[in-house]
Symmetry: C2
Subunit: 295 residues, 2 copies
């Protein structure tokens, strides 16, 4: 096994995968400490209006004038500044994280902290009640827990593992598309993991369900936080054992084998039929390039 | 990258990692089809009494006489038999899954389906209410979803990714222990992933928090479903950049560097101080052996 020092510099950067904050996980349950950080004049607070991050007129992050009392703690940066996140209306410019990631307008570490913020804020928004007894819960530990005053249950933010896989057969790759995607876009097959599955079994199951293809040899190649709202994308490369595709139309609209030449044209945006692959910021893009490089 | 055909045969088998059922994920939302499977005389239903699996007098699985109407669907085995899982009192023998895994009494594929069953049953037990609005929810899709009749929210079973890592420095490994563990047991450090983290960042963060050690080069080495109640263990091997340990006593009782000779004695159960490592069924055992083999 090859251990890696740092992300592959030879491949385009994936969005949301760079985080520079020290989350101070063992200190953030100290309410007095968090309150003191909030009150510091150099504390920073990013704002979300729904699922959109607030931006300045110049296109950078728009920060709150002060840190609201219910802001979630993100961590402390290299300069010792504390970062928080809060939800609220914002009159100025704003953008969803996918568009921000594609545009490349923000530094990688800022996209990373926005991903952390968005997943956490969304979790609180959707989990105000106790799933165990139905009572209203309240946030604790600067936003990393919700506690039920009635049954005492503790609830923690979700991180949902998703398998996403580039399946190879001689000089072609299996890619599919959902009806809701931009015209011509094809990507690697993906799906949520289920209870009691290994990563490899989940990937084989998803490919079989969606395309009918059986996958043999397989390996994990990359991973990416994906804040829509709280997935962890676990990327694999696998070798197909079969060739004939049977599409499950409940999940995807189409799936087909693309030759490496086709894919190179899709990557460069010059495919004759207008087909394309996902942008460089997505793990699918990286998996496709790696599957080609390593074949 | 090396793609793998099948799990490492040279290493002891990890529990819960073998699943032979076809989960039929795209068919199980068909209530009539599930009802017909339930009514089949050859349908099988495993039983849990709390967190303990029901066993026969001979130590095998005790199956229900018939499949209850609220049983969860697990999948279809190679012989075409449908498997279900239900919760209820059981007068006979029973055992928690950890003990069953350590004993090796059941075939690997049966442990796998018990893991799937236990995670799903536990999720339903703890998620009877809508986290979004507090109303009582009901199960759908043979147990793979809960739906809120009030706000229409859909809820899916949790799978919580946990990073667990063997940290190496020249010829020693960093292992720690929690106060609640059996005397003398030391294992690899571990912790839940958080929103917006990569797997590698989460592993480095946990090691830093618990032991003060900085980790440099790192790689994913194995994974294991861990049904206590619904974790996915993602195992890594990493190289330490520092040596001096600072223990976070809120999380662990002790952490220290063990020489490879120490660890070999711990594995064989002959360490002079009575120290030991986790049993072969656990991913920690595998990570420790792999870290030694590959150094």
């Amino acid at each position: 096994m090859m251990l890696k020092k740092s992300p592959d510099a030879a491949l385009p950067a994936m969005a949301f995968a760079v985080s520079r904050l020290d989350r101070m996980a063992n200190a953030r349950s100290d309410d007095a400490w968090i309150a003191a950080l909030r009150a510091e004049t150099r504390a920073r607070c990013v704002l979300f209006d729904g699922d959109k991050a607030a931006l300045s007129a110049a296109g950078g992050l728009a920060l709150a004038a002060s840190v609201p009392g219910d802001a979630l703690f993100l961590g402390i940066d290299d300069d010792g500044q504390a970062w928080f996140a809060a939800q609220g209306p914002h009159e100025g410019a704003k953008s969803d994280l996918r568009s921000l990631a594609v545009s490349g307008a923000l530094p990688a570490a800022q996209l990373g902290l926005l991903a952390q913020a968005r997943s956490l804020l969304h979790w609180h928004e959707r989990h105000r009640y106790c799933a165990h007894c139905g009572a209203a819960t309240h946030a604790k530990d600067a936003g990393y827990k919700r506690v039920c005053p009635s049954c005492r249950a503790e609830h923690f933010p979700r991180t949902d593992p998703v398998v996403i896989i580039a399946v190879r057969r001689s000089n072609s790759l299996l890619l599919g598309r959902q009806a809701s995607w931009p015209a011509g876009m094809y990507s690697t097959l993906a799906g949520f993991m289920e209870p009691g599955e290994t990563i490899e079994d989940a990937a084989r199951r998803e490919v079989k369900e969606e395309s009918g293809i059986e996958v043999g040899a397989i390996g994990i190649a990359a991973n990416q936080p994906w804040p829509f709202p709280s997935s962890l994308m676990i990327g694999l490369i696998g070798e197909a054992l079969t060739e004939r595709i049977t599409i499950d139309t409940k999940e995807i609209e189409d799936a087909r084998w693309f030759s490496f030449a086709d894919i190179e044209a899709m990557r460069r945006g010059v495919h004759g039929d207008g087909f394309k692959i996902p942008p460089a910021m997505a793990i699918a893009h990286r998996l496709i390039l790696r599957a080609l490089q390593e074949s």
